[in-house]
Subunit: 151 residues, 4 copies
Amino acid sequence: MSVFEPRDPDFRARVTASFARQTAMATLGVTLERVEAGVIEMAMPYSAALTQQHGFIHAGIITTALDSACGYAGFSLMPVEAGILTVEFKTNLLAAAKGERFTIIARVIKPGRTITVAEAQAFAHESGASRLVATMTATMMALVGREGVRD
Amino acid sequence: MSVFEPRDPDFRARVTASFARQTAMATLGVTLERVEAGVIEMAMPYSAALTQQHGFIHAGIITTALDSACGYAGFSLMPVEAGILTVEFKTNLLAAAKGERFTIIARVIKPGRTITVAEAQAFAHESGASRLVATMTATMMALVGREGVRD
Amino acid sequence: MSVFEPRDPDFRARVTASFARQTAMATLGVTLERVEAGVIEMAMPYSAALTQQHGFIHAGIITTALDSACGYAGFSLMPVEAGILTVEFKTNLLAAAKGERFTIIARVIKPGRTITVAEAQAFAHESGASRLVATMTATMMALVGREGVRD
Amino acid sequence: MSVFEPRDPDFRARVTASFARQTAMATLGVTLERVEAGVIEMAMPYSAALTQQHGFIHAGIITTALDSACGYAGFSLMPVEAGILTVEFKTNLLAAAKGERFTIIARVIKPGRTITVAEAQAFAHESGASRLVATMTATMMALVGREGVRD
């Protein structure tokens, strides 16, 4: 359920294809779970190879998934000829990323011709319970007609 | 050369040991190049397994190194009994992370008993030239006497 | 309606008294409209004396109200002996602050013994319509036993 | 001394005229002290009418000056036909804004055709000593050909 009208009716295929080219997603085990107009959901398992010093998932790794989720939430609303670039993001780490798996949900809060703003949340799931562990606000820019950044 | 007085004279050993426990650093190929009181330098090679959709290093991966650099810059100034937690960070992506290798430098701008603030920069190196590609401001908290977060 | 349990049953009186001491609020015309546990609502009229170069309210003025709203949302959940300090905030300006009056609503998303995180939104009201013009994420710290910062 | 080449040789006049239209600056007592290509310096006296609850200048008021300083640092490098819009900013409050007067300095760290990023610092001056009290990173957008936002 989304309040945004996508400018490209085939946005799901475009998002899915671009996501598949992000090799970092495969390396981190991040999967694309849901693609709506302006809304993206991703999942990521725990990996002992991606931790900080206490054995929890590194905040930067959670941030990598949050950034991709915000980016594709914005990208889903852009016209077919546009590429997307993250201008900046801010992450608050609310709790250690301690869990067996993680889900990330991003939503556009302000789409725009040039600038799009999205917010995202990361949840840790452990022993049947879930907990909000991080939030992101991200600013993205649509790029039209620049070689090498399309899609 | 640093303007800060470390509270633990053995801060280099403490930083180095904690960094070695961050499995994410080895997985990403990040190395610790310099440890001063309040200043950390890291390096990271290009990896085709860590890219976004255009083949450049994913902004979240650069952010992972920036976050660790800020964290250890803060950690280097903390007393021996303190653990460290990142409260939040903000990253500006100034240019695509296009390069053969990357260097990250973090400096504490405000140490504190509870809250420490650091700033960091990431540079991309390519064909002998270097370019500022990202900046971070990070807020960290010292934790004393909490099981499981020491070091 | 709030999901948080206040530690001080008289939090409304404490918030109201502290707000009254913020001379900036009176100077900007900001009023406290609602105080719940973890939720604050404020209002502000348009003022020709507080604009940027195009005659709209300056983003920093909107930010001043957002910061106070986040601060008091956090403060409402703190124990009676605690003072509060804003550690940092981030504001996204989604549209020009063009309107006859503005409302600001802040909610705590993560209360904590030391660190509390809140989010806030500012809406512009004009000709019967309202529009989201700015968002804030703010990090606050509780201070106990420090002279001069109580309340 | 600046490393940036302004695209409008008359940038000083353009910045000064736009600043004069920001009524918030006069209301807050903020003055424009220095205009270089990509660098802005401002000053602000203490005012008992602009405080938070402990009698120090409200963080949002300091932020208002930081935002204008970043904005004009960016604006000084833009072509004559461009307006400027702040997209977002992030402020770290490093110490209470306790002082007789304050100075703000902003510098562009990345100019761009569309997006410009600047950093700024606020210093409090008291009894002959000065102290860094706040930092800002701000993202601005150049607007060309949009009615009502020029200058």
